[in-house]
């Protein structure tokens, strides 16, 4: 089966600015992937390339085995953009009907409205809808062709907490149907809560790629804390995978990427007890991986 998305050595330069500077990325079907990174990391440019709105300076893009333009034309990929893309003087239903008229194969308009939670306000003018309702309308429009890949570009920017919660509830329900979802966000909690996989971007590069747990481990690893009376700092520092050791009385703190190996050693080769493994929170990782001069 072809992958949902394959980017190979993709670059996009605007004059001197390297918005995307060599990205390799493969997303299998059914994955829910978060594109995480600060503003200017290249998330939106990468998404524009995936959607065929921008042409890469070099590199190749394959969306479900086709070019982005072919995938769009076939209704295989659709997108929820951050802002715009709506006409204020149409009703919610008319907007979806308009979209449905453009595709050859579509889900029924009412079904799509219902899945986006818009059925009750279907006859409301778009200009009278709240920001959250407008975003759910963009989502409804994206559902119309029943795409295999759904791309969302910072979909909850500017939404209140309640709006964000309702929006993600709708998306999560949809992801349960096996659709591949790629979303860009700069909200760490969203990436942590809704994605199977996080792709961390900084200055046009992918700096980390893996599950939330893996990405967290990638930055500074996990910390293994144990009680070990009479611990010898130098011996512990030589253990495989250990990057930092701290001894505080009877307590030792070992930091490393392979916390499992460290824990196994402590439990089998030493008299350590009261073992605790903690990960840094994603926010620390995000800062560590994306701040200047500290790239992983």
């Amino acid at each position: 089966m072809t992958n949902a998305l394959e980017l190979t050595a993709v670059r996009k330069h605007f004059g001197e600015v390297r918005a995307v500077d060599g990205i390799d990325l493969t997303i299998a079907r059914g994955e829910v992937v978060a594109f995480l990174g600060p503003n200017g990391a290249g998330k939106t440019t990468t998404i524009d390339i995936v959607l065929g709105l921008a042409r890469p300076t070099s590199g190749t893009v394959s969306v479900l085995g086709r070019t982005p333009t072919e995938a769009i034309a076939a209704g295989l990929v659709s997108a929820v953009m951050q802002t715009g893309g709506l006409l204020k003087d149409l009703t919610v239903r008319e907007t979806v009907q308009y979209t449905a008229a453009l595709f050859r194969q579509t889900r029924p308009v009412d079904e799509v409205l219902q899945r986006a939670g818009l059925l009750e306000i279907a006859d409301r003018l778009v200009g009278k809808c709240s920001g959250g309702q407008q975003q759910r309308l963009r989502f409804a429009m994206a559902l119309v062709p029943d795409p295999e890949l759904l791309v969302l570009d910072e979909p909850t920017t500017g939404m209140d907490v309640e709006g964000r919660r309702e929006f993600w509830a709708a998306i999560r329900e949809d992801a349960g149907r096996g659709r591949t979802i790629l979303f860009a966000t700069h909200y760490l909690d969203e990436a942590d809560a809704y994605a199977d996989r996080i792709v961390l971007m900084r200055r046009g590069h992918v700096v980390a790629d893996g599950s939330a747990a893996e990405v967290k481990a990638m930055a500074a690893g996990r910390t293994v804390r144990a009680t070990l009376p009479g611990a010898d700092e130098t011996t512990l520092a030589k253990l495989p995978g250990v990057e930092a050791v701290e001894v505080r009385g009877d307590t030792v703190l070992l930091t490393g990427r392979d916390s499992d190996a460290i824990a196994r050693h402590l439990l089998t080769k030493t008299s350590a007890y009261d073992l605790e493994i903690t990960a840094e929170n994603l926010e620390d990782v995000f800062l560590a991986l994306t701040s200047d001069g500290n790239a992983a």
Binding site: L53, R55, R104
Partner: protein, 245 residues
Amino acid sequence: MISPAILRIELRRMIRNRRTLIFTVVMPPVFFEIFGVGNSQAHDRAGSGNVIAYVLVSMAVYGAMLASTSAGASVSLERAAGWSRQLRLTPLKPAAYIATKLAVALAMSAIAVAVVYAVGSTSEAAMPSSAWISTALLAWACSLVFAAFGLFMGYLLPSENVMQVLGPVLALLSFAGGLFIPLNQLSSGFRAIAKLTPVYGVGEVARNPLTHDGRLVSALVNVVVWTAIFSVGAAVRFRRDTARV
């Protein structure tokens, strides 16, 4: 190529816009009553009909022109709202989008012409029945020139409400084109310039079945040249707008 569902939604949308409705459906018949029926020479002879009929055709051209220009110029608002970008995420071909805009423009101008002629039919406007039909059809068909004009301006001007700019421009062009006052009331210098403006040709062509005057060829040349200018302008801007970066 043009979806009936989209055409229906677009028309509903135009009709929902009160400003468009007033400009295209209310004002032309009102002007007809003032300049036509209320004209001091209303029953004087004009070609094979009377002055009321002459003004009737002029006002139909005026209404059709406003309707089709605003339909074409709606691309400006759609670009500002990001709707054009949204449409690029669908299989819609850019040419089909333009074709839909032209179809909406023609539908709206048909409504504008029909309203003026409906009001006119209850007046004392007089012309041969063949001229009633042919002038109405010509006023309607010539509105395509202004659909192209609206598209061109819609792609050229960044403004969100481009019709606020185009309204006064169209009023000026209508005066220059002789829709409100006959051109022979202007000085010969002004008249020479006025004959080069885009509304002049359309008005002359539409009124020709009534007036039968000998200026048809120069009027047709005027229509063809302006159609070409507006279409090429719209096409160039359109291509720039839809080009991928």
